[in-house]
């Protein structure tokens, strides 16, 4: 008899949520937390109404308004949102959550913000859970040892009606991060370096577990940044085994277990880790001590390079498809093969998004801002830089620490929370040809505004670019 193999973290979460195994190979998997927002839910609610189906577990559902809300004037309320289509979508969400008894943090509520900032911040995201949302960056919540992934609107309707999803099991992949990074290199650089290595389809069909000493050393915010970007490597989800940092982050949050319940919950959460003899379908190791601050040069998150490098020559790529993509990307980005990337002038800086808008992200950017202010520097002439906190609570915390004062003194705009210019559904957009140092997650053509040129990087790197007026090595500012 072959020995019984150990289970991975993903296997354990999966096994704990199986409602039924169908003869055809599909599994009906229970969902512990369903996060919703204004853009991908209206058609799902309409589908429920058309079929006279109720929301099965409104108590396991939480709603925010984040994707299309303006980042100023939120206190005026939804009825004052100038964009008519956005306003209707926001009003529709408010009606739908009320009719179905779903908890909702509306625009202007201090608890509102980007859905993937709010879930953890409210203590609703917990280890061992299954978490879904009609948003691909739901992978963020994997930082807590939860199985979390994005779904489409039909699946949102399915979860509303059944509190389950029909799933086929993904493969197990593990990326082990070893080494100690140099100052100026962190979770964003880890993620970009990994995506550069595996490619934007490298994780397709897999759940990636992040492990190793460099992951253990990351803060919860850093782990969220890394898990957030799992989808940019094509992965179904990213997961990290929960540890004392995880529990400490959750403890005391509004949704966290209290009193005697706390110990019971932690005992359960501690069962979620990969067994030493668990087998992974694919394993890679990344030595973070070798990384320079990393950014993207092209129009796919896999187009990564060190800030010290030169823009690659499209003809250096191995396949015809890659060469063609690189030629197109350089033309779109207005870059020339062989030019040092640090020569590229920027007109915009965006610090925000579900990838990098948490308090630690803002603190890291603020360190650069403080250093620059001490040297008498301001945001470079001709650069418009904005900081968009991930939630009202992040904004309040940053203001309590005086970070907003640093940012505004240096010439950054200090905005109200939301998805903002990560996807440009609200008024925050790039103009054609504008180059942006952005802490967001996608550098696709037109993502931040038609014709806009996005370079993905860490919050500290984005802050450095604001002062330099060009792509800059953050280490010059530390």
């Amino acid at each position: 008899m072959p020995p019984i193999m150990g289970k991975t973290l993903y296997d354990k979460i999966w096994d704990a949520h199986v409602v039924a195994n169908e003869a055809n190979g599909e599994t009906v998997l229970y969902i512990d937390l369903h996060l919703i927002h204004e853009v991908t839910s209206p058609q799902a609610f309409a589908g429920l109404r058309a079929n006279h189906r109720p929301v099965r577990r409104p108590d396991l559902t939480l709603a925010v308004a984040d994707h299309n809300i303006p980042t100023e004037g939120q206190g005026l309320g939804v009825d004052a949102v100038a964009d008519e289509e956005a306003r209707i979508q926001l009003q529709t969400l408010a009606r739908n959550v009320k009719a179905n008894g779903i908890e909702f943090f509306p625009m202007g509520d201090v608890r509102n913000g980007i859905v993937h900032v709010v879930g953890p911040e409210q203590g609703r995201t917990q280890p061992g859970m299954t978490i879904v949302c009609g948003d691909s960056h739901t992978s963020t919540h994997g930082a807590f040892g939860a199985l979390a992934h994005g779904i489409g609107t039909s699946e949102v309707e399915h979860v509303f009606a059944t509190q389950t999803l029909r799933q086929n099991k993904a493969k197990n992949m593990r990326v082990t991060f070893v080494g100690t990074p140099v100052p100026g290199v962190g979770a964003k650089d880890f993620a970009l370096a990994m995506i550069g290595e595996i490619g934007t389809g490298g994780g397709t069909g897999s759940v990636i577990e992040y492990a190793g000493p460099a992951i253990e050393a990351l803060s919860m915010e850093g782990r969220m940044t890394l898990c957030n970007l799992s989808i940019e490597g094509g992965a179904k989800a990213g997961v990290i085994a929960p540890d004392d940092k995880t529990f400490a982050y959750i403890q005391g949050k509004p949704g966290a277990p209290k009193g005697a319940a706390w110990g019971m919950a932690v005992d359960y959460w501690k069962t979620f880790f990969s067994d030493p003899d668990a087998r992974f379908d694919r394993e890679i190791t990344i030595d973070v001590s070798k990384l320079d601050p990393t950014l993207t040069w092209g129009t796919s998150p896999e187009d990564t390079m060190p800030v010290t490098g030169r823009v690659p020559d499209p003809n250096s790529f191995a396949t015809e498809d890659k060469r063609a993509s690189a030629h197109r990307a350089l033309e779109y980005m207005g870059l020339t093969a062989g030019q040092p990337i640090a020569e590229a002038m920027v007109q915009r800086v965006f610090i925000g998004s579900c990838t990098n808008s948490r308090i630690e992200d803002l603190r890291q950017a603020a360190v650069v801002v403080k250093g620059a202010l001490d040297k008498g520097l301001k945001v470079a002439a001709g650069v418009r830089a904005m900081v968009v906190p991930g939630s009202g609570l992040v904004k309040d915390q940053a203001e309590a620490e005086g970070l907003d004062a640093l940012f505004t003194e240096a010439g950054f705009e200090w905005r109200e929370p939301g998805c903002s210019m990560c996807l440009g559904m609200n008024p925050d957009k790039l103009e054609p040809g504008e180059r942006c140092a952005s802490t967001s997650n996608r550098n696709f053509e037109g993502r931040q505004g038609r014709g806009g040129r996005t370079h993905l990087m860490s919050p500290a790197m984005a802050a450095a670019a604001a002062f330099a007026g060009r792509i800059a090595d953050v280490r010059e500012f530390l």
Partner: protein
């Protein structure tokens, strides 16, 4: 969901890798509360210039490819955002099948929820089909029952598909109705879950 059994019609080649859902349907078209009417936004930045005028060179704007029901695209089609507006827009435009060497997971799922068939073939087979689609005015056919794509020349490629998904596509089954047949199993699971998560009621 619309069922899918056979499809015959023109195919348009999109020989680019990593076509993301932001390209398939840009953000400004996501501010709708409807599923219908999204064809206007399909590949908007590819189809229209900054003044909103059609770009005559883009494949779907060329007369030889008008009425394309099939797209033949580069690797990793549909990566990025989970927006189901992408398959809705393709369907609204008249596309019922996309052929590529791979699809991103969420887009792939979303297609199956709507009766849009994502066909995975080997890279050289995809290239061969793109070659045959050049010039347009051709007729391709896709047959789900036999799991085949037939090119204008008559060359036929077989594709793999998960048996459960195939059956649902052929019958146009409603996944929610199917899962609700497990209502008592869901009830039992929730009972067990209350005990596993005893701290929630402690």
């Amino acid at each position: 969901m619309q069922k899918f059994d056979q499809l015959t019609g023109p195919a348009a080649p999109l020989p680019m890798a990593n076509i993301d859902t932001d390209q398939i349907i840009p953000k400004q078209f996501l501010k709708t509360v409807e599923r219908e009417g999204l064809a206007k936004g399909l590949f908007y930045d590819f189809r229209f210039d900054f003044d909103g005028k059609e770009k005559p060179d883009f494949v779907l704007n060329r007369p030889a490819y008008k009425g394309a029901k099939i797209l033949i695209a580069g690797d990793n089609f549909g990566c990025g955002s989970s927006r189901e507006h992408a398959p809705w827009a393709l369907m609204d435009f008249g596309v019922r099948c996309v052929i590529s060497s791979s699809f991103a997971d969420i887009f792939n799922n979303n297609c199956y929820q709507n009766g849009l068939l994502p066909v995975v073939l080997k890279p050289d087979e995809v290239h061969a089909l793109m070659g045959e689609a050049k010039g347009g005015n051709h007729v391709f056919s896709v047959d789900l029952e036999s799991q085949t794509v037939t090119a204008p020349s008559g060359q036929t490629f077989r594709f793999e598909i998960d048996a459960a998904r195939k059956e649902k596509m052929l019958k146009g089954l409603d996944a929610i109705g199917e899962t609700l047949e497990h209502a008592s199993a869901i009830d039992r699971f929730e009972e067990k879950r209350r005990m596993t998560r005893a701290w929630e009621t402690a």
